[in-house]
Symmetry: C2
Subunit: 162 residues, 2 copies
């Protein structure tokens, strides 16, 4: 799934690196792919496929839903983007250009995403993997809860069958 794990060279121009990668795999550098990467770069936050489609899909030169999904998968596979999955299964993406690795706290009420990172945790999880003979490729460390604002507002509510 992940081809490029150490993407430090990405400090150079993202578009250049992207077209390099495409070329190296005999893939084509199309307007749609450039626009989606661009969208991700400008966003500087997590965006869903639907958001991208909403914003780029209805214009003079539009693009289709399928292309958004295909391109996001391409970007993730290539290590250019990072997907997080909400508790309900929906996914959102962020680009990885010259951003250090980090994990997420996700508010279950308002969906705010707070980034955190802790090198000690990283080290500990690596050694846990090593002990188990497990070869880690990537990980997902997400804390679900309530952000400062939402925690102040309401207590957790009950829910029965329906």
């Amino acid at each position: 799934m992940i081809l490029i794990l150490n993407i430090n060279y990405m400090r150079t121009d993202p578009h250049a690196v992207f077209s390099q990668l495409l070329e190296s795999r005999d893939l084509k550098c199309t307007r749609q792919r450039r626009e989606i990467l661009d969208y991700l770069l400008r966003a500087e936050k997590h965006v869903t496929a639907e958001e991208i489609y909403r914003d780029l899909g209805r214009r003079d030169s539009a693009l289709g839903r399928a292309t958004v999904f295909r391109t996001l998968r391409l970007l993730e596979d290539a290590g250019f983007a990072n997907g997080i999955t909400f508790a309900d299964g929906r996914k959102a993406y962020e680009h990885k250009f010259s951003r250090p690795h980090h994990d997420h706290m996700i508010c279950v009420d308002c969906r705010e995403v707070i980034e955190f990172s802790n090198p000690v945790i990283e080290r500990l999880q690596d050694s846990a993997a090593r002990e188990a003979g497990f070869e880690p490729l990537w990980h997902r460390h997400e804390i679900f809860g309530r952000c400062r604002k939402c925690a102040r507002r309401a207590p957790v509510r009950k829910r029965g069958n329906k």
Copy 2:
């Protein structure tokens, strides 16, 4: 989403605790709910809704798909079960009766799930949350990679657009 977080009292009979909870919420203790809880207790591993339906759904006294999903959600909401989400979005559940908290390493090739736990990581993530004013409810710490067996077999393969 989570109602009961400290479930240490679950060292007593799970069925008793379950019907207690149901009663306290004016919910009914039906055959289907008991069977599904029972299935989870016997399984002692992660099972999907589909597996439960496959095994319990086609018998003299069967139960429907919808009931499986409704009951799993009920169990998760009540803190009796724990859901993990695979990279592709599918979910699987395990019961939480008298099992200490743990996280998972998931093999991307064969889907084997290895449990791990590290109290230091837990502490560090709690303080990370506290610093951000975030009230943690639960978390998901999953390391994706390849288990000992699969790591030995094959290198990671490439993939393009289709």
